[in-house]
């Protein structure tokens, strides 16, 4: 019993963590129709800027979380304004090439600025201890992640469904021309949504600092694959789908490692293949 509970907890925290990264990716695709390959790099940049704030300003968890993603957000704004705008009208391959180019650029930028080695962030002391659950320790920070995940999901849902701004975003994403014709400044909206999506990704990176405990230049690469899988299974563009998919995948993988170790990533891909065969648009994706 203790084992099952702890596996579930480990799976939930891993799943919620992936959701946090995938949320920005899903939002950007849902509204802008852009598959942001560089999302993992923004996650990485978020983690590194957070680390820098913690190391050189103050080892305060909330300060890092406040400043880090904000700074990365600015980079995202510049990216959208000067580069992404030109490829909206073009086909998907051009967007992929552009965002992939940024993956390479950011990877090397990080190595130049912070070095190629792994960095250990300073201790913030935030939720640093462990909680005894059924006679085995579980880190308190992971419980925090399990809580933050649904909170972010709720916040996004409320924003999109219940606010005036959310309505405009939904309008612009379903019909760009119509929205423009009734006076919505679509280009500015796109920049804002892209920036917000990047902010979410960088926030994931900031939250990763105490969670993963190690910054390496390759940290964006593994997370982006998992985020993409979750976004695809959930239905590209569906936040609800991404949340559910992350939950299922997190818990499934945790059980997989424990009971079917030979299968490893296989379980994840089998899930993706099954879902896509049954519903090619993903769980909650719009049928195209």
């Amino acid at each position: 019993m203790q084992s099952v509970v702890h596996i579930c907890l480990a799976g939930l925290s891993a799943g919620m963590f992936i959701w946090l990264v995938a949320s920005g990716l899903t939002l950007i695709f849902g509204v802008l129709g852009v598959l942001n390959f560089a999302h993992g790099s923004f996650y990485m940049l978020g983690a590194y800027t957070c680390y820098t704030v913690l190391k050189y300003a103050a080892p305060d968890f909330w300060l890092g979380l406040l400043l880090g993603p904000l700074l990365v957000c600015l980079v995202g704004v510049a990216l959208e304004r000067f580069f992404l705008r030109s490829v909206y009208r073009l086909e998907l391959p051009y967007q992929l090439l552009l965002t992939f180019a940024f993956v390479l650029i950011f990877d090397n930028l990080v190595k130049i600025v912070w070095g190629a080695g792994s960095l250990t962030p300073p201790d913030t002391g935030f939720l640093a201890g462990s909680v005894l659950i059924l006679d085995r320790k579980f880190p308190a920070y992971n419980l925090f992640i399990i809580g933050v995940g649904p909170l972010v999901a709720l916040g996004l849902w409320l924003m999109l469904e219940k606010t005036w701004w959310g309505r405009i975003i939904r309008a612009a994403s379903s019909d760009r021309e119509m929205a423009a014709s009734i006076g919505v400044r679509v280009p500015a909206l796109y920049t804002a949504v892209f920036a917000f999506g990047i902010w979410l990704g960088a926030l994931g990176g900031g939250l990763a600092v105490p969670y993963v405990g190690l910054m390496t230049p390759g940290m964006g690469e593994t997370i982006i694959i998992e985020a993409f899988i979750v976004a695809v299974i959930g239905g590209l563009g569906s936040l609800k789908g991404a949340f559910l998919a992350a939950l299922v995948l997190g818990v499934l993988s945790a059980f997989g490692v424990r009971y079917f170790p030979a299968f490893d990533m296989f379980l994840t891909f089998i899930l993706m293949a099954t879902v896509l065969l049954w519903r090619p648009q993903g769980l909650f994706g719009a049928a195209r």
Partner: protein
């Protein structure tokens, strides 16, 4: 120009060409010059191609390799080079993929004209590269990749003479660990190890050796983490479920750092008192963990900067610190020593050609910062001793170091040729 007959320019060109040809033809009778009077001149520059992992989660290692290699090249060139010729080194990212290692090797030899190659972190890469090195016919000095299949199968059985290894192989991680473990009270061992050749082979070796040394031990759990794992919690859960009293892990670099932190959070070190990290004495791991590294963990590596406590090593550490403001990692020492090994071999052979250098390296005994190394003739593996030690704090350093040490001599724990049959595996 436009004149009939040979112009002055043409004459000088001809004379120059003629004398070079004459010099080459008369090579055997050339007048001895300078320090290398006994040997005919080696054509310079000496080009060494080095590759190590510079990207991804294990990127720090490549940097440590580079620091050691570059320091050695600078020192050697300052003192006149190898056989009076300047040493040039090119450094490339090997990544961890065998295909990239092969690509780099081909580039080094075919495009760049390397005389020697060095490096390689991943066991999988080393095995893939061995037959390629045979075709390229250049010596590769492996400085990190540890699988024993490299020296036992590739060099000894298959006869690929171009491969040498200057760093300790899995014997240090598997066999020597068993010698340490036999004296510990733990009887139920489990592992969380990397999911590739190196991880598998070490665990198997540890099990085989420990079973012989201490009958009655059992192996109750194993969990394999692929490269790039950042969340070890599921693996830690699996191990805790098995309730072992000893943990063995060949996780290395950043992954070991993550694993230790997460294991600590899960209370693993309170439940499992006897822990062995065969490559835990790596500088990047010790520095990265700082005081988070628990005490009384048995660690080892391919070199530890405080051993041996002699002039050669201490001065090397001091020079390294002065140059790079860092303590040398074990790959820094192996990269550094590789350059000096090549220097000794070329000067001994009087040539930089592969065949004479191989002959010079076989059986070569030399002192390095890590101690006295002998390159075993049969399998080209360097034999030298590295201690195991229990972690403890030391106020000279901002990280934990080896306290109580245990030296398992290489002669006691390295497999011996012919590697199959009785008397080839420890205990002897």
């Amino acid at each position: 120009m436009g004149k009939k007959g040979i112009s002055r320019r043409q004459f000088i060109k001809l004379a120059g060409a003629g004398s070079v040809v004459a010099a080459e033809a008369l090579g055997g009778w050339s007048i001895p010059r300078g320090v290398f009077a006994a040997t005919p001149a080696v054509k310079g520059p000496i080009k060494i191609g080095y590759q190590a992992v510079l990207s991804g989660t294990l990127a720090g290692y490549g940097e440590f390799h580079r620091m050691g290699a570059q320091l050695a090249v600078e020192e050697i060139n300052q003192k006149g080079g190898i056989a009076g010729q300047k040493v040039e080194m090119e450094f490339r990212d090997s990544t961890l993929k065998p295909d990239d290692a092969i690509k780099n090797a081909r580039y080094f030899v075919d495009s760049w004209g390397a005389d020697f190659l060095g490096g390689i972190d991943s066991s999988g890469q080393a095995l893939a590269l061995a037959p390629v090195m045979e075709k390229l016919d250049r010596v590769l000095m492996v400085t990190h990749a540890a699988t024993e299949k490299l020296n036992e199968e590739m060099v000894f059985q298959k006869g690929i003479r171009q491969i040498f290894r200057i760093s300790t192989p899995t014997y240090q991680d598997g066999n020597a660990a068993a010698f340490v473990a036999k004296d510990l009270p733990a009887t139920k061992w489990a592992t969380v190890s990397p999911k590739y050749e190196y991880g598998f082979t070490c665990w198997k070796m540890f099990q085989d050796a420990l079973t012989k040394l201490k009958p009655g031990v059992s192996f109750v759990g194993e969990s394999w983490a692929p490269f790039g794992t950042t969340d070890f919690r599921s693996h830690i859960n699996t191990i805790l479920d098995a309730k072992p009293d000893g943990l063995y892990s060949t996780e290395w670099a950043g992954e070991l750092i993550s694993f230790v932190r997460q294991a600590k959070e899960a209370g693993l070190f309170e439940k499992i008192k006897h822990v062995l990290f065969p490559v835990g004495a790596a500088t990047d791991v010790l520095e990265g963990l700082g005081k988070e590294m628990p005490d009384n963990i048995w660690i080892s590596g391919r070199y530890f900067f405080l051993y041996p406590n002699n002039k050669t090593n201490n001065e090397f550490v001091a020079r390294f610190r002065k140059r790079w403001n860092h303590y040398p990692a074990y790959v820094s020492e192996t990269a550094y020593s590789t350059m000096y090994a090549f220097k000794a071999a070329v000067e001994k052979a009087g040539s930089k050609e592969t065949k004479p250098v191989i002959q010079a390296l076989e059986g070569m005994a030399m002192d390095f910062p890590a101690g006295h190394r002998v390159f075993r003739k049969e399998d080209h593996q360097a034999i030298y001793d590295v201690p195991w030690g229990k972690t403890k704090a030391d106020n000279r350093f901002p990280f934990k170091v080896m306290g109580e040490q245990k030296l398992i001599p290489a002669s006691a724990c390295f497999n011996r040729p012919p590697f199959t049959g009785p008397g080839t595996h420890p205990p002897f």
